[in-house]
């Protein structure tokens, strides 16, 4: 194989890494920063994809679909936080696991009732439908490059909000010592409701953006759930930079794993996680506890 082949694969790897970060971004916020174990992350991703499919069908425009879908996702997040998650902050993680597992079942059932069991696709918006020729017979879809751009913007934006803004400061403080923040006069309940809703909206947003390059089908959320946790764990909880680097590493390792060690392709990401956890149990950018 010539050099151009490996360059295209490198592009694939980076692109896959971006997609992984996008998918894991909501989980980074909830699990990585706030410490909530949210197994329903994949369900919110699925809800986003179905919202994109449904609203694009109704409005005839993906952008309009995303614009209408995001408030719905925020609302879903808010309701879930108020009526379920908020009761469990003081409890053991196991309760969160049980609750969010139940949410998976509920959302799967709702999805079937609302949208049925068909496999759907979402058309790529006309202005991004083209592709750029790479080699003599392969070209690269512009929409994928667009996703990468969105992902970079999202990573920078999240990092800025968490590290530099007052809101980010409150989130970090609230996650590490809830009572103290409360006693300083900050409404922690409202803060956590807001952050949880944002986390859900991020997961849904990822589903919406990915819908045109993926397919929309029942159970699609489960496929992204585990890899999202792997991304956050490799990066180290509490670090957006970590999640970003973790996503990139998995992108590289699994893409080149597929090319160079095809028999091992499906375990590469997990092997990487095992190695990193042996070396740094707190993850690449996690703080030791």
């Amino acid at each position: 194989m010539e050099l151009s082949f490996y360059l295209v694969q490198l592009l694939n790897a980076i692109q896959y890494g971006f997609l992984l970060f996008l998918v894991a971004s909501g989980l980074t916020l909830l699990f990585g920063i706030m410490g909530i174990i949210n197994l329903a992350h994949g369900s919110f991703y699925m809800i986003g994809a179905y919202l994109a499919y449904w609203l694009t069908d109704v409005t005839g425009n993906l952008w309009l679909g995303i614009l209408l879908g995001l408030p719905i996702a925020l609302l879903v997040g808010y309701l879930v936080e108020r009526f379920a998650i908020s009761f469990l902050y003081q409890r053991d993680h196991l309760y969160q696991v049980l609750l969010t597992f139940a949410l998976i079942l509920i959302f799967n059932e709702l999805q079937q009732i609302l949208w049925g069991t068909d496999v759907h696709g979402v058309a790529i918006p006309a202005i991004l439908a083209g592709s750029i020729p790479l080699t003599e017979n392969q070209s690269y879809p512009i929409y994928r490059l667009f996703i990468s751009a969105v992902c970079i913007a999202l990573a920078c934006g999240m990092s800025w909000v968490i590290q530099k803004t007052r809101l980010g400061m409150m989130i970090r403080a609230g996650a590490s010592n809830r009572e103290m923040v409360q006693s300083l006069g900050i409404n922690v309940n409202r803060l956590f409701a807001l952050v949880f809703s944002l986390g859900v909206a991020l997961a849904a947003f990822a589903g919406m953006l990915a819908a045109p390059v993926d397919s929309v089908y029942p159970g699609m959320g489960e496929n992204v759930l585990i890899i999202s946790f792997v991304v956050v764990v490799i990066g180290g909880t509490g670090s957006i930079k970590g999640a970003f680097v973790g996503a990139m590493l998995i992108g590289l390792v699994s893409t080149f794993g597929k090319v160079l060690l095809p028999e091992m392709a499906s375990v590469m990401a997990y092997a990487l996680m095992a190695v990193i956890l042996l070396w740094r149990p707190q993850g690449l950018f996690g703080r030791a506890r």
Binding site: M1, E109, Q112, D118, G121, N137, D214, S215, A265
Partner: protein, 404 residues
């Protein structure tokens, strides 16, 4: 309450048609479940084990609806007896297959067992049902072993074997002039069997396999593999992908600009029932299957209209397989006038049945696997059009079957 605890199945898994269940149980326990004199009141119990959640939910739903449609057309009676359904969601999970099958056979004592979609679930199910178990009809699962080493007099299949899916692909592609071919498929039992069957006809016919690219199941990240495919520059690629994976593969293949230089072929699932989701990306894709929406025969016209009228959905190959499963059970029960005790006679009627299926003529081999025509189809304006018959009366070698 007691019933729920005894079976240990959650309400979600276990849908019994109203209160008839209790009545049926009482009658069955008094009168004996399996044998029953003609003219009695006991209902025939049809156990259904199909996936209604997850990736295969649509397949399971269509199979069940089509089978019930066939029964409804026959007045909801099998050989004069009314029908009671015991319908369980298999979730297409191999880990649950044994437990759920056990419930249907031991606790529910069903007369007929219909299912499943997933081959590995099918293996567990047939291992328990073969021999003394209920008459079993497989409406989808394609593992060769089900009518091979695991074949049994009481086990029938109305769908296909892996062999029947892959074998006709070789000559079809050679006839279209493609000699250098790459194989891509989901790397699990069924995918591997389809690829092996394809090679069995393609290589002796003079074709060359440039490379085999098995991809992890059920992952759908194809980009790295498509780059490899582009670099290999074959004439064509033969694939096995289904459901969400098939939609993704066909769209990614088109988006990578490969349609211009590499012709895309596949086992029929690649484009079956996915026209709307795949859109323009599927145009020109050729697939090989025992059914096509556009087949011009009276049974197909009738079936498609009736299925849409009954369910509001469009029929597909899975619905056809469910419809034929219903027909096969009807044939058996009508032959013995509802006497499930006359097992040998019923099996004889079923194995000699010649059905005017929506797919065309359907007969059964000695191993109780379908013998049917296989069609080469091409997607034209979102519809799978028949190009030609790829294999007439395609049979299965039934490797390891003691009945063949």
């Amino acid at each position: 309450m007691s019933e729920k605890n005894e079976t240990g199945i959650s309400r979600r898994d276990f849908v019994i048609n109203g209160s008839v269940a209790t009545a049926g149980l009482v009658a069955a326990s008094v009168l004996g479940p399996a044998t029953f004199a003609i003219g009695g009141q006991a209902k025939v119990k049809v156990g259904i084990l199909l996936p209604y959640t997850g990736t295969y939910a649509k397949l399971g739903t269509n199979i069940r609806n089509a089978m019930k449609l066939r029964f409804a057309e026959a007045g909801n009676k099998l050989g004069g007896r009314e029908i009671e359904f015991v319908d369980i969601d298999s979730e297409a999970k191999p880990a649950k297959a044994q437990q759920l099958t056990n419930k249907l056979i031991k606790k529910e004592k069903v007369d007929f067992l219909v299912g499943p979609v997933h081959s590995v679930v099918g293996m567990a199910m047939v291992k328990m049902a073969r021999g003394d178990g209920p008459i079993t009809v497989i409406p989808n699962a394609g593992a060769d072993q089900l009518t091979g080493v695991l074949c049994a007099p009481n086990v029938f299949r109305t769908s296909f074997s892996s062999h029947q899916m892959g074998y006709p692909g070789g000559p079809a592609m050679l006839e279209d002039g493609h000699k250098r071919v790459v194989l891509m498929y989901w790397n699990y039992g069924f995918g591997k069997q389809v690829a092996a069957a394809f090679k069995k006809s393609f290589l002796p016919g003079g074709g060359t396999i440039v490379k085999e690219i098995p991809t992890p199941f059920p992952k759908v990240d194809f980009q790295a593999y498509l780059t490899e495919l582009a670099a290999l520059k074959p004439d064509a690629v033969y694939t096995f992908y289904a459901g969400g994976g098939a939609v993704k593969f066909v769209k990614d293949f088109a988006a990578a600009g490969l349609k211009k230089s590499i012709k895309l072929y596949g086992a029929g699932f690649l484009t079956e029932g996915l026209g709307k989701a795949q859109g323009d990306a599927a145009e020109g894709v050729r697939t090989i299957l025992h059914y096509a929406d556009t087949l011009d025969n009276p049974a197909n016209h009738h079936f498609r209209a009736a299925f849409t009228a009954a369910t509001g959905a469009h029929a597909d190959v899975y619905a056809v397989q469910g419809y034929d499963a219903g027909e096969l059970i009807l044939r058996g029960m009508n032959a013995v006038k509802g006497d499930t005790g006359a097992r040998a006679e019923m099996i004889r009627a079923m194995e000699t049945a010649e059905i005017d299926s929506p797919r065309g003529k359907l007969r059964f081999s000695k191993s109780h696997n379908p013998i049917h025509d296989i069609y080469l189809r091409e997607v034209v304006k979102g519809v799978n059009r028949v190009v030609r018959v790829a294999a007439k009366d395609q049979d299965d070698p039934a490797t390891g079957c003691s009945m063949a």
